[in-house]
């Protein structure tokens, strides 16, 4: 048998008050008066509930609490703060519903003091904020680092159209190891490199930056791509990282309308050459992974590439892309090439788009693509402004500083 209560016991540990249509408190029990630390006559019939609240809650009461109450007939568990005459604030939980009395509708309101719960919530909130901040920092770091994996600007090469693309895996918050670079040597020759450092995360990123910067230095000392890769292999072994990379290096020398291209691959998928009349073939000499063996097997292959010929270089993020239809594979790349190559820009864009579409827009792995196409002398572009390197260096420096900061934070924890 349940007994119908006539009213709340006066000394129950739950604040209770009634609020009239005009917002004024029409009745309040002892516990509520204790919470707001005011005598009966200074509350009941004297003030509005709103005036007892902190200003933020006053606005919340009008813009959220009352509208919900009016539309639903009740509101539950709203966190608010009541203000005592001395200015101290008491965190409370408020539930209310509407009831009909002699004077019309009124609000029946129940108030619980909730100091401990609020403290706990504040702790949770702080932890959540800290987590959000850390996440944001990690993402910014990833993005900054990733920007150093590719040149800010691919330089204009007279007679050669070169267009690169890079897409990090997923939403870009994790750093991968794909990179590419295009730069000129003192001799007037050009070097194009595309590579992939194994693994992901900050450590892989550090190695990626190391590899890309080392390549530039070593390309000055050594002529053949296989020699450059061999020297990089030594540098990686000396560096002490247990990460390895795959890499393809092209060295390009202009001779009249043609380009002499020397290609060596260290464990990397071979580039594909498409001639002006549409013939497609793998180019380059395959060799060992870089950073594993003391005596890697590496070789060079040489080609003469003419006007209208193109070469596409890519990482395994392209061929190993997986979708509902299986894996993109070499067949996918061939499909793009067989559709015809009209410019390096279109080739890079088409291939990237198809790989992304194949994976429904969400890349599982990093993707790096560089396309090269030999142009007529007629559509030669003007000489490049050497800005790219300065910017890339700046970014690398910034990334390094962020990294050091992150490491300091890690150590501090």
């Amino acid at each position: 048998m349940t007994q119908r209560l006539e009213g709340l016991p006066a000394d129950v540990l739950c604040g209770y008050l009634e609020v009239g249509d005009d917002g004024v408190v029409t009745s309040a029990n002892d516990e509520f008066l204790r919470i707001v630390d005011r005598p009966h006559d200074e509350v009941v019939g004297a003030v509005s509930l709103s005036s007892l609240l902190a200003v933020g809650d006053r606005i919340y009461l009008e813009t959220h609490f009352r509208p919900t109450l009016q539309l639903h007939g009740e509101v539950r568990e709203i966190a608010m703060e009541l203000v005592r005459p001395d200015g101290t604030k008491v965190p409370v939980l408020v539930s209310a519903d509407m009831a009909l009395g002699k004077g019309g509708q009124f609000m029946r309101t129940v108030v619980f003091e909730a100091r401990d719960r609020r403290r706990y919530e504040q702790e949770l909130l702080r932890a959540r904020r800290a987590a959000e901040e850390a996440e944001g920092r990690a993402r910014r770091l990833a993005q900054t680092l990733q920007q150093t994996f590719v040149p800010a600007l691919v330089p204009d090469i007279p007679g050669l159209e070169v267009v690169g693309a890079y897409r990090p895996a997923g939403d870009g918050s994790e750093v991968g190891g794909d990179f590419y670079d295009v730069f000129q040597l003192h001799s007037g020759e050009w070097v194009v490199a595309v590579g992939d450092v194994c693994g992901k995360g900050v450590e892989a990123a550090v190695v990626t930056t190391f590899v890309r910067q080392s390549l530039r230095a070593l390309a000055v000392q050594w002529d053949d791509p296989s020699q450059i890769i061999r020297a990089l292999n030594t540098a990686m072994l000396q560096h002490g990282t247990d990460r390895f990379c795959t890499l393809v290096v092209l060295r390009l020398l202009k001779e009249d309308d043609d380009w002499l291209v020397t290609i060596s691959s260290g464990g990397h998928p071979l580039p594909l050459l498409t001639t002006a009349d549409g013939e497609i073939s793998e180019v380059g000499a395959s060799g060992s992974l870089v950073g594993v063996l003391a005596q890697p097997g590496l070789a060079d292959a040489r080609y003469v590439v003419g006007v209208g010929d193109s070469i596409v270089i890519f990482t395994d993020g392209v061929t190993e892309a997986r979708g509902e239809a299986g894996s993109f594979g070499l067949e996918g790349v061939l499909g793009v090439l067989e559709a015809g190559v009209t410019s390096a820009g279109d080739l890079t864009d088409n291939l990237l788009q198809q790989v992304l579409d194949f994976q429904a827009g969400e890349a599982r792995d990093d993707i790096a693509i560089v396309s090269i196409r030999v142009q007529d002398d007629a559509d030669e572009a003007p000489a490049p402004a050497p800005r790219a390197d300065v910017e890339a260096k700046d970014r690398a420096l910034r990334a390094l500083q962020e990294l050091q900061e992150l490491e300091r934070l890690d150590e501090a924890e």
Binding site: D22, T63, H64, P67, H72
Partner: protein, 265 residues
């Protein structure tokens, strides 16, 4: 179509009839108007919408810079009215929407034939003789409390909406997003609202305007409503018997009658 989806625009009433647009204020969304809208559906084409960040709007369209000031919201109102392609329209704004409507009508007067300002305030913070109802410290405290009462602003209302088992019909009828706000967006909207000063804009209104004032409005006091009345050229003033900041919920019949008298005149 993009604009209509972005703002979750809902159209009801008589097709081809004069258009009346109801704009919600800071806090909830277009559902605030649900008790008033039926009073206009017989002789108007009624349009309600959500500002970006509120209700069923496209949150992806939220742009911190654009919505840092009321001008960003006003440009959305202009876009909505342009898309309706039925100008000029009657614009009824509540709370902060009153000043958004004022700004939109100044920018593009040809799009509006009447303005109804329900519970307007051109500035919430007191300034010399001007009484907005809040001190500068109050508003700082508000913005700060929105930070510290993060959970309250984001999710406190949700259980009441989801778990209203005694009134399942009502609960089902209401959009689940009612009054739920991304706390970050709510804080930015609060800053844009409560730090705004649109007093200098009022004399530039050239559209017939009705100012409706409630009793005991804790957000927009009588002095704020009177200021708007005195500074919008030729404004009509109506004092509602309803009390509180949301007469369209607490006294929908009276509110609809007061709006109706003006817009049907």
């Amino acid at each position: 179509m993009q604009v209509l989806a972005r703002h979750n625009v809902a159209v009801s009433g008589v097709e081809g009839a004069p258009v009346i647009v109801f704009a919600h204020g800071f806090g909830c969304d277009q559902n605030m108007w649900r008790l008033v809208v039926p009073a206009f559906e017989a002789d108007f084409q009624v349009v309600v919408f959500d500002y970006v960040g509120a209700g069923g709007s496209d949150l992806a369209a939220y742009d911190r810079d654009k919505y840092a000031s009321l001008a960003g919201y006003a440009s959305d109102v202009i876009e909505i009215v342009e898309h309706l392609d039925r100008a000029p329209v009657t614009f009824v704004g509540h709370s902060v929407s009153t000043m958004i409507g004022v700004l939109a009508s100044i920018e593009r007067p040809e799009l509006f034939d009447r303005l109804v300002l329900l519970g307007p305030s051109a500035r919430y913070i007191d300034d010399g003789d001007y009484v907005g109802g809040f001190s500068s410290a109050d508003i700082d405290e508000l913005l700060e409390s929105m930070d510290s009462n993060y959970l309250g602003w984001s999710h406190a209302i949700a259980p009441a909406i989801m778990g209203n088992e005694e009134q399942p019909a009502l609960a089902a009828e209401l959009d689940e997003s009612f009054c739920r706000t991304d706390p970050d967006i709510a804080r930015r909207f609060a800053a844009a609202t409560f730090l705004a000063d649109n007093r200098a804009d009022l004399p530039r209104v050239s559209v017939p305007t009705l100012v409706l004032q409630c009793r005991n409005d804790a957000i927009a006091p009588l002095s704020a409503g009177q200021y708007v009345r005195d500074h919008v050229p030729g404004a009509t003033f109506g004092q509602l018997d309803a009390s509180g900041h949301c007469p369209h919920l607490s006294a929908p019949a009276e509110t609809a009658a007061a709006i109706g008298e003006f817009v049907r005149a």
